[in-house]
Subunit: 179 residues, 2 copies
Amino acid sequence: MDFMDFYEKTVESKKIFHGRILDLNLDTVCLTNGKISTREIVEHQGAVCVAALTSNKEIVLVKQYRHTLSKCILEIPAGKLEKGEIPLSAAKRELLEETGIKGKDFKSLGYIYVSPGYSNEIIYLYSCHVDSKADMKLDEDEFLEPVYVKFDTALKMVINDEIHDAKTQICILKLNKFI
Amino acid sequence: MDFMDFYEKTVESKKIFHGRILDLNLDTVCLTNGKISTREIVEHQGAVCVAALTSNKEIVLVKQYRHTLSKCILEIPAGKLEKGEIPLSAAKRELLEETGIKGKDFKSLGYIYVSPGYSNEIIYLYSCHVDSKADMKLDEDEFLEPVYVKFDTALKMVINDEIHDAKTQICILKLNKFI
């Protein structure tokens, strides 16, 4: 079996919504068995996140209200790619904006598809060390609070199901193999 | 700082799209500073995934075409919760449908938010052992192929950035702490 055995030919693509964060398309596809089906597709420009470690073996998390969940959750600093922006530049920018931290020794931890069933979003993952700290520069509609947590504690919070954000879990679990 | 410092009051919620897989709402919210903003919210009924291990220390992956990405990727068996369905029942059902495998010794690996910035989707994670194997029972518009991979190889594929699905990375990284 190769790629073409599963290929879905797009017959029609209808733009349902064009937003600030995402677009929604309703695609009509021809399946491998010749039947017609629809695919609901969220188009997203991609995002970055960064696990920043202090010299004191802490990881920098941010506590942020998520309207989707109607509650605050803990995540690592993250944000959308701006148009044409290189992922590493976005990671440095988001870390500075959300925490005031200038990072150093940035390393890639790969990239992930967060929900490939309906979204094309890719998140590029980075780690870094904290170099220096200045003031936060949040977006106008962004409210969050940096929280410094010992890395070992954060790892336990992932294993014990106290941190639920997927990108945050992955970065912490991957870093645990390297530090 | 507590929860209410960040709370976003919903002023209006407009249904943009009602689909098979997801709904899209455009919410108008009042921010903590009194300003008005909008939130683009994907509503999803939640999903499950299951990392099934064979007695031969293999993990069962599925190779599946994802229209969102226009390519096939490797994931663990997964699928949407049906209305009112208990996550563990859904995990057993999806594993059987997508691979023909009846699992045993199911254990929870917690739950994750995959993209809390715009989606309320929760995925419940499970591991299990392979008990017996029968025929696959795929949905009419579902085409995929089970792939058995040594667990150590799958772990290397996560670390070396060859498996990119977030839920799959998390289950493999978490299982690596237990087996």
